[in-house]
Symmetry: D2
């Protein structure tokens, strides 16, 4: 039953799907249930309430859709927009590219604002476009909060400020797939209209649940949006919300119980502590990269991502070889460089239910691999740099003091 | 962590989601993995090959989509048809109704052929429509193989015969959600163009995987079909099939291993034996219903379903009360009557990884509930009738002889 | 990985090991932990407190020993007695026989009081022996509360009355393996000195934990008892209890968490409700046996066991064939007749985390098997008799009203 | 349900219980079964055959006893020896001390040969005793292969050589608890009469199975050994082996399936590769200790243990503080110093299903802790030393090349 067995634990450091906490695996280790019994709505009610805390919204309406991040994107777009609508979308890496591809195939008029891979969204361009758009032809701003391909985090509060400055009514749609629940995210405060994530990212669940949260303004827009949709239609969810049965079609019972357990763990640790832990892991990783003498794909500190670090390898090395070797020799799973940066970067995911010693094990592995492929790294250097920082910053575990 | 606890096992007799075999629960009890490592494609390859055996196709192309049955419907329709296309669709119960609703919302020109609930699809009407359609304006025939709301199984081979008789090129699209892998189903022999099912039905997995299989003709149609689609677009799958990496977006690792285990169990038992077991369970259930003096919602024997039995209750009894009581007193989950038959029928699901003594426990429970709600059933009568049949027909367990 | 696979759930109706609740399986689905960390003692403390509630003792000292019931027996005997000590022991079936065998091999002077298999302990003989023993040569009374081989429950309160009546200081040692947590058991009220059970019986856990509870008088006796013991020595446990680390050697982390979950379920249902449920299941089983025209191995009503029923088969039928057939054709596990009643009885275990519909499925299966082996049973008759009783007596599920 | 929760995985580096492979956790995630059905003997048969391969014996008879290592000791002693028998036993640390304590309490005449903690067994003393014992008053040599408290591995082949040299018939009893399946062990070649281990050590299972293997000579001795025993009596096992039902009392079904999975993994990796992996892990750990400027408790290289390293801390540091801090801040579980070396050493267990990056994560953690407690370690130094060795010695993973 095991494909390509290796001794010991797999070190899973791709930026999703991430390690699932044992508590969540346990909670999901169960039979099916009748989702029309009173127990499932009772459970669902708690989930919908609690997921809002993760998005930091009180006015938003969450949807737990049996789909992936790609489906969550489609849900966000088709419920709020009509074919031909002009939208601004920022191309800064592979995942924003894929979202733009979807936007185009859904027949929106996509005004693409492109950056070099490794740079953040060009918000100055957004400013000019908003300034120019006195006729409010722009219906939505689509932005990836954290570009998983390059490790770039965009500044969402600045987007909101620009929209406010120009009193522009465009919808503000955010892909928070690799940020929500790991990087500071404030749906209400930043006036985000649709935010979305996937279960297999910072929530540390299996793949299979696309989580979308809609502001009142987005819900209003959905009443007139003309994009064709059925499976992804919010209307059907809202109908069953009103009935108190919650589900227009069959949910995964296992994922519901898994989400319950995942949220319980997050609240036990404290959402702010979870975010702080990701800050530590991100910083430690970047210090290691620096100690190795390698460059971060992310061009400026303001864009540094706390959930994934894309590391640029010297020109004579193929980064795919690093990923291959990690898996073939060390049972370590790293992220490939994608598209424009294929062969040029490898990625270390540091999100989800992960602690510092797990990361240091990974960093020690990367050092050996770098040596394997001929890069003259000083073994232990990255671990030393990361440890020096971590040893000063890891808090005591509250339950154990 | 448990919502509305009761002692002992839950007796899950809704027609899906069904009981998951322990072996499958075990196989799914696992951490995430990097789906871009070589192990996941290696596993996927075996799944795609083996799932075809379940559909009885050698020429079909299967898609394992992270979605539900509703999403699988949308995949079947949007990949093969264009807005405005005329399609014939049979309304015979709640699930065919929901599919037709989807077809209409997807902007097809749906020619609805309605039957009384409890009757099968009116194939004579199909015959006349095909005969009249010399211009071939009908682009597809959409039919639910087994209507889960009423326990009616349609005759698919007859549909094919009619299409052949009239040399009609319409696509033949089949919802096999509550039939495939439980009721005789022959994709190639019956010339079905798109067949689909969901993981939580006869495959006995959790919800979350829509399984769609397309004939070469359907694939050809997808090249020109103009329905807007991205998440459900087969093209993206085929692109990654050709790359050998198989997944356009993240699959659920757990469901992949679960499907592997589920298929292994089916092949261990033998697909024909699985179908024969469902025949036994269906027949036994119907004998019990008869012994109770109650009527099957299904009007004629030719439509009897081997995966679900909808039982009509006397007018003075509300069938919802039966379902409620089953759950509140006996830890038994039965199916509600839906829509037109709400309050009038309750449903016993007998599909998936289920054996005869499990069914007899359920039937014994139903007898007590009938008495609870004032129906003068003779306790033991249904069990006696079912047992008399089963005792003559249950085979020895091959591995134990 | 599966030995002798069969479709559907296994119907486990041996009188132990019994079905494990899903909640307990989930709780045990975990990695090892350092049992010397503060977490394990914290958990253990709650277990030791709560297990006393199950034994209905406040003054007893519990020991959770990594062993089976056989080891728990040895722990009870060797800690309280010295070689050559005279003890009275009742032989009423296979398990009391095995305990007596152990007592003899441990070099006690065993005064065996034998009954016919199917009868209870001869307490009148005990009375005479106590009356005669003015010199108090009898050091202990050893009695099996519920003889699992014949389904006979002895009257422990009467034993206590006799000891009190004759002011006899003998220790009162009780095997509660198939009674504690299922049949009314009151350690303190009945003045029991050592009581014991095994995890795989009414507690519904895997095998591996022998649970022994010692009264202050038993603890006192252990200080002078000369039987050689090390692994089973209570002294080592008490030493670590006093240290607050609890474990003289490594416990099974999984069983500790499993026990926590099992106790939580019992308290959720309510111990008295658990006992009442067993009363219902026992009564229903006996009514079925009667309806089949078969005889209960237990001779008198006062000894009827609520956890196991031994059914006598007609002389021309071999009961082993019934057990074999149950397993080979119906995936049903029944208990064999043992020793003197081998071939003559088969046993239905009805203990642990079990509900009424599960039992009715089993009874329906037994009917078919009886017919298979040529006994002219009326199919449905046992289920009818059991249901008639159950339908009047099953309570609503509190969490679901 | 979780006691003293911390984010991320627990880093379990005590020398047992060790990390359980996911495959084994999965295999054990199951309900109880009737151990008297034909399936359990069929499974047991494969286990008994395969466990012999782990002990490297063809003539030995294995016993899988529901107990711990302490019980396995008792089984080894009481089945082969009689009270008063003279035995030689080596005291080299806490676990040999505990075994000697047991030997004394079981009333053997124990001739204790003591070493300083950190030294191996004094085999020269053994030589003199054997030489002197021309009357063959010595009935057995008891030796711990790998003393877990100090990380000392004794030379068993030398013991055999001495016995042969003096043609001494004493039984050769070996505690292989922290060696078998991790350190080279050859029962037949070294003429060992009883060897034993526990499930929670190198086999990487939960606690609960004591595994004892007896040579033909030991079996012969058991026929006349006069130590009182029942639960641990081999005779009962052998009786049931001959019956083909294998179990004198109830085994843990879960541990049987777990052992099956554990053995499958070991054979998949190759027993020699498993041992080689432990050699690498041991060597890497010792290199790190050296780089930190700390001393190994083990005095000479010939005794270095490949499964546990006891590290001596400078006098001004309390090693218990290191262990406490590891758990309270880093979610890392280390072993305490025991008895004579309490406060003076901490222990790193490196046995079981463990790979190199897991160990490096642990070593990085130890460095930070050392700094926490005021030891002036150079962060990264141990990891660097270990990595330098590992990077040259880790083989490619065969299934992935």
């Amino acid at each position: 039953m095991d494909y390509m067995y290796a001794p010991g634990k797999n070190h899973l450091f791709v930026p999703g799907p991430v390690q699932i906490p044992d508590q969540v695996i346990r909670a999901m280790n169960r039979n099916n249930e009748d989702y029309r019994s009173p127990a499932v709505p009772a459970l669902t009610k708690t989930l919908l309430e609690d997921i809002k805390k993760i998005f930091k919204t009180t006015s938003g309406t969450p949807f737990l859709i049996p789909t992936t991040g790609t489906g969550a994107w489609e849900s966000a777009l088709t419920n709020t927009l009509s074919p031909g609508d002009r939208i601004i979308s920022f191309l800064i890496g592979q995942f924003s590219l894929l979202w733009i591809d979807q936007q185009q195939r859904l027949n929106f008029n996509v005004d693409v604002v492109e950056s070099d891979w490794g740079e953040g969204a060009k918000l100055d361009v957004l400013a000019s476009k908003l300034a120019a758009d006195t006729a409010h032809t722009i219906k939505a701003i689509c932005i990836v909060h954290n570009e998983t391909a390059t490790g770039v985090t965009n500044n969402l509060s600045k987007v909101r400020k620009l929209l406010d400055e120009y009193r522009h009514p465009a919808l503000f749609l955010v892909d928070g797939v690799s940020s929500i629940c790991a990087i500071d995210f404030r749906m209400d405060e930043w006036g985000i209209d649709v935010a979305l994530t996937g279960s297999q990212k910072a929530l540390s669940l299996p793949t299979g649940m696309g989580i979308v949260c809609a502001s009142p303004k987005a819900l209003e827009a959905s009443k007139t949006a003309k994009s064709v949709r059925v499976f992804f239609d919010w209307k059907d969810y809202i109908k069953f919300y009103n009935l108190g049965t919650f589900w227009p079609y069959t949910p995964s019972i296992q994922l519901l119980y898994g989400l319950r357990a995942a949220l319980d763990l997050i609240f036990e640790e404290g959402l702010e502590n979870v975010i702080e832990r990701h800050r530590r892991l991100g910083k430690a990783t970047r210090l290691a990269v620096e100690a190795w003498g390698l460059k971060n794909c992310t061009q400026k500190e303001e864009w540094f991502s706390d959930t994934v670090t894309a590391v640029i390898v010297p020109p004579h090395i193929n980064s795919s070889e690093i990923v291959r070797r990690a898996w073939q020799r060390y049972n370590l799973s790293l992220g490939l460089g994608l598209n424009k940066v294929a062969g040029k970067v490898f990625r270390i995911g540091h999100l989800g239910h992960l602690n510092e010693l797990q990361l240091l094990g990974c960093l020690a592995g990367v050092e050996m691999i770098l040596k394997d492929v001929g890069y003259p790294v000083k073994l232990g250097s990255g671990v030393a740099a990361a440890s020096a920082y971590l040893q000063n910053n890891i808090p005591m575990i509250p339950s154990r003091i």
